[in-house]
Assembly symmetry: C2
Homo-oligomer: 311 residues x 2
């Protein structure tokens, strides 16, 4: 059994996007085993257990990931993850992977796949709400699938915007008001908000939105009126209803599960698509275990390992 | 983060039994978080993901365990397990534990707790069906809670019986027919059978049975008529209905979930008990994640560790 320490080092973003796209295609075709993630509540946060099996890649395993908003005060990441990989033939654990960075990358990749298939334009102005690790991963991954002409960034903290812009020197980056950041072709929302930040009237027709932030019951970033105007695609219906962007509107009876336009997997295999150039499309991302397996398979070819005796 | 290699070394069986009993007590009082285990099917077996949080012991984590019956041909254990432990405060993974041996020990401990509370006698003749690791763990753990006067062993393979008896020189061990092994005070069944081995007419009144083998849909070791004659206690109703000894009779409509007499946790806290000295009692064991956490906490004080960089 190997422990993989620096797994993100040397990973090719284009290759990660492709692997995640292929995992979504398998999901769209019903070729994966992936029960909904299981939540355990701890005093200051929670952790989620995400088992799956992706036969086309011959990979099976479990990601374990926590969310502890107050960890930053302790100098620890808010989100930390381990992925355990099992041998398909024998069930033996063969890899323990530090998956903290990989979690950002595979979420970025899902956003890139959604952008590739759902954005009305190939050259875009990208609006970014939030400047954390998820926001950075989205911009990095989307830039491989769409040509970014400009990035409009909003954050409560101007210092965070400056650092964000410094990291992405290759694109013209501009600090924006919330409303102005929403005036874009593709919008990415990455905050842990528990009340809508993005108003419906700020979003013009034809915009595509990656709603990344909401990942637990009670979290929402988008005005429910915007959700009702849009075609909403989800990564997984059960997870999205439970903890995605649509969880609050659904629990309030404003939105219904039957209103969901389809899954990203169905979009990738061509079964579902953007209705027209003026439609607003939303990708409601909750994060799938199959994304973690797809990126784990690439990560296991890179990085440093420590040999562990097992069984 | 530490990797624990030789976790079973030096563990005190009495201490393990006590910790597992205390975990069952918390379960009986509704003080644990433990969703039902999640199954993923692989080509030649399956694996189960078992997350839980035990506040009284301040321990949270996930066990991942496979069952691959053909592994013996490859020289690998049929069942292999890893337990991941997270820090309660931050959610950070702090331990990866080789839990293969611990899985046997904690199942043995549950059998011992069931025997302690449900056996009609304190000095017993112990019947054992099957001679594998689970059978050995049951005898070892039960011997700490009840005085074993004799062990009657049945296996298809006489060589296995000889080896089993050699291991337990401290008790008079006797190779028995299936029927004769069932003529005992406490019976332990540990086979992966998919059709009943133990006939109802072989079991006399007052016997207690630990039904250990059935741990997946379709598995059963006991005659349904015996189940109907007995008080059936389960570790967890949802898991027992899905994959325990009662799963087949329930799926066939012979037995109902409402017929379950109670949980082992309820027995430990005195809320439920054996109806009388002549009652036949059955403990339907499927294995709980809280047992794995209870034993992990003890194991983390023992054995060799390898330091792993994280985050």
């Amino acid at each position: 059994m190997q422990y993989y320490t620096d797994t993100e080092w040397g990973l090719d973003i284009g290759q990660v996007n492709m692997a995640v796209e292929s995992a979504f295609a398998d999901h769209g075709r019903g070729l994966v085993q992936m029960p909904p993630k299981v939540y355990i509540t701890l005093p200051d946060g929670d952790f989620r257990t995400m088992p799956a099996y992706l036969p086309s890649l011959s990979i099976a395993g479990v990601k374990i990931v926590n969310v502890h908003p107050n960890n930053t005060k302790k100098g620890l990441p808010t989100v930390m993850a381990l992925t355990i990989i099992l041998d398909i033939e024998s069930g033996q654990p063969i890899a323990v992977i530090n998956a903290t960075q990989l979690t950002d990358m595979r979420t970025g990749a899902a956003g890139a796949v959604a952008g590739k298939y759902l954005s009305a334009k190939k050259e875009i102005i990208l609006g970014v709400i939030g400047t954390g690790r998820q926001a950075q991963a989205q911009v990095t991954a989307i830039s491989r699938e769409l040509k970014i002409r400009q990035v409009k960034i909003w954050s409560r903290n101007p210092e965070h915007i400056r650092k964000f812009a410094d990291r992405f020197m290759e694109f013209p980056c501009r600090a924006s008001s919330l409303e102005n950041a929403c005036d874009c072709d593709v919008l990415v929302t990455t905050t842990p908000s528990r009340s809508p930040l993005v108003r419906s009237e700020w979003i013009h027709e034809g915009t595509h939105i990656n709603a990344i932030g909401a990942d637990a019951p009670g979290k929402e970033e988008l005005d429910p009126a915007l959700i009702l105007r849009a075609q909403v695609f989800v990564d997984d219906p059960a997870q999205a209803i439970h903890s995605g962007e649509i969880n609050v509107p659904i629990s309030q009876g404003i939105y219904r599960a039957t209103d969901i336009a389809g899954t990203l997997g169905e979009v990738v295999i061509g079964k579902k698509k953007r209705a027209g150039p003026d439609t607003i499309t939303i990708f409601d991302s909750t994060g799938l275990a199959i994304q973690d397996l797809a990126i784990a398979r690439i990560a296991m070819k890179h990085g440093k390992t420590i040999d562990l005796p097992f069984p």
